[in-house]
């Protein structure tokens, strides 16, 4: 069977090989990351009670596949902070065009924290269907995401 490949727009480039966690619904940044960040935890455990896809899951160092982020406008600052703390997901992979809050977050992280967080958007709806939490994926510099066997 041919490998499933998704090509998107590179916002913050980078390479990654590892596990994916998939949020099929909009990811509420504040609700998802705040609990671990407030506790100054070493890793993020998703804390959004309204999102069973990420609730209770480790989100540090993984590739987070999502449509967009939603919720409070502290969202960008939350992303910047978790990047500064070094507990951020390694990559944010958006099926849709990145939303303004997540965009703020990754641009702030890049310019003000020298973060290496990877961000790719416009990967298409199928990525949410074809990639499942726990699947192994690779990401290349040119914005290609590959679902590995």
């Amino acid at each position: 069977m041919a490998k499933k490949v998704f090509k998107g727009r590179v916002i913050c480039p980078g390479e990654y090989l590892g596990e994916a966690v998939v949020s099929r619904q909009g990811l509420n940044t504040l609700a998802t990351f705040q609990k671990s960040a407030l506790k100054n935890a070493k890793q993020i455990i998703g804390s959004d009670q309204n999102n069973p896809d990420v609730y209770g899951k480790n989100l540090t160092g993984i590739a987070l596949v999502l449509p967009q982020t939603i919720g409070s406008t502290t969202g960008g600052l939350v992303i910047q902070t978790i990047c500064q703390m070094g507990i951020n997901p390694a990559a944010l992979l958006f099926s849709e065009e990145i939303d303004s809050l997540a965009a703020s977050g990754v641009i702030l992280a890049k310019n003000w924290e020298n973060s290496k967080i990877i961000a790719i958007d416009k990967l298409g709806k199928n990525i949410l269907k074809d990639i499942k939490t726990g699947d192994k994926i690779s990401i290349s510099q040119d914005g290609v995401v590959t679902l590995l066997d």
């Binding site: 982020t69 939603i70 919720g71 960008g76 500064q84 303004s100 641009i107 310019n111 003000w112 924290e113």
Partner: protein, 423 residues
């Protein structure tokens, strides 16, 4: 983005490295969304970050950098509510220790930083900066550099101002630079509706549940709502403004709505009518059954789901003056029915400092306090967002607070009965 000569100079460091980095951040942000140019910010700012949480180290570091560079906003700004009010929202020693020494250890330092770069005044701490009493009320067509999702959606939808859903930090950057990239909700095209929402309920829907239903359905897209003017009328009265404040907050927190139009009511819908619809729109019909489905879908996050509530927050976003009067009456009626003089659940109502000052001149204030209710300008979300409060059975009529904390949501009438002990 096409930059002017001056903007290019700023980007190249002619006005200092900090301003250059601010410009670079905003240019990259604008480029990502296809902005062609910057447009001037035309009025006061509003910032979302009001809380001096120790862990937000990037904020304090960047603020110091801004202060050291001598930068100030051309217009004064307001900011979201403070996270602490020991006088009116009492807490035990352990809570105080956690709040003052751990969670909000930077509060006083951060407020000093805000003052240095352009904070309006000591009463500037509220999420409802747009209310008349507070006075940060943009005009139709004003361009804003605001964050705070509930304030952005109100300014866009009810006032007809233009603002994107900016994040914390970018709100400060735009306010400092006096410019924001023109894209999205700053353009005529970006303000057109992707959805038609048909309201087919038998009575005026609960604002917080209707907003939640629409937010969860349309996410960041723009809804055009028909059938709501049947209940709300076609004028932005004080009561309608209060309703839309709560409705919008729920659309923004349960989804990511930055702008909505209500047929025959909100300014652009009145002016442009169905010209506001995109060529292809999706449709969502909301009836009483759908609202009940959404209401029933909210999970109860308390450890003991049958626990008796120990605290109730009413006012997220902050209550308007009218709402304070209405809640006083509502509680009076319910206490009479319960044959009680005071509420039986510790209750805190929250409103902007300027609204509280006005309300204190009214006889209803004395009545409300006599009923055992505390009045504060605290941010309920910041208060409940800590490991100690997070474990307590807190109830609220705010869908925003429900979303970001473990607080349990009840409709207005239900919550009035609970806190008054009506069986």
């Amino acid at each position: 983005m096409k930059l002017t000569k001056e903007e290019k100079e700023i980007l190249n460091g002619a006005q200092g490295q900090t301003k250059a980095k601010i410009m670079k951040t905003l240019v990259e942000f604008g480029d990502l969304f296809g902005a062609e140019k910057f447009v001037p910010v035309t009025t006061n700012g509003h910032l979302v970050t009001s809380f001096g949480i120790g862990l937000l180290k990037p904020v304090y570091r960047i603020m110091d950098e801004i202060i050291d560079a001598g930068l100030k906003t051309p217009y004064p700004f307001t900011v979201d509510p403070r996270p602490i009010d020991y006088k009116n929202v009492k807490c035990g020693l352990l809570n105080k220790l956690v709040f003052s020494k751990i969670m909000y250890s930077q509060q006083s330092h951060y407020e000093q930083q805000l003052s240095k770069i352009g904070l309006k005044n000591k009463n500037a701490f509220t999420c409802t900066c747009y209310l008349d009493e507070v006075g940060n009320t943009p005009k139709y067509g004003d361009v804003l550099s605001w964050a705070e999702s509930s304030a952005v959606v109100f300014a866009n939808s009810v006032l007809g101002a233009r603002c994107n859903r900016n994040s914390g930090m970018l709100d400060i950057f735009g306010a400092l630079l006096g410019k924001v990239p023109k894209f999205g909700l700053l353009t005529d095209e970006g303000r057109k509706a992707d959805w038609v929402i048909e309201i087919k309920t038998k009575k005026l829907p609960e604002a917080q549940i209707l907003g939640s239903a629409i937010g969860m359905k349309v996410m960041e897209q723009v809804p055009y709502i028909v059938g709501l003017d049947k209940f709300l009328g076609s004028e932005l009265t004080d009561d309608v403004i209060s309703y839309l404040k709560d409705f919008g907050a729920a659309t923004a927190s349960n989804g990511a709505v930055g702008l909505y139009h209500i047929e025959n009511l909100t300014p652009e819908a009145k002016k442009l009518k169905q010209k506001l619809l995109k060529d292809k729109v999706k449709k969502y019909v909301i009836d009483d059954k759908e609202l009940e489905r959404v209401y029933k879908s909210y999970p109860v996050m308390w450890k003991n789901k049958d626990a008796k509530p120990t605290l109730c927050f009413i006012g997220c976003p902050h209550l308007s003056f009218n709402q304070l009067i209405d809640w006083t009456k509502k509680l009076q009626q319910n206490l009479k029915e319960a044959k009680r003089k005071k509420v039986c659940v510790r209750t805190v109502m929250t409103a902007a400092p300027d609204v509280v000052e006005k309300f204190k001149q009214m006889q209803e204030y004395a009545l409300l306090i006599k009923m055992g209710v505390k009045l504060s300008s605290i941010c309920p979300l910041m208060y409940t967002n800590n490991p100690i409060a997070g474990g307590k059975p807190i109830i609220t009529n705010s869908n925003k607070l429900r979303t970001y904390s473990k607080s349990r949501y009840y409709k207005d009438d239900e919550i009035a009965k609970i806190i008054c002990g009506v069986k």
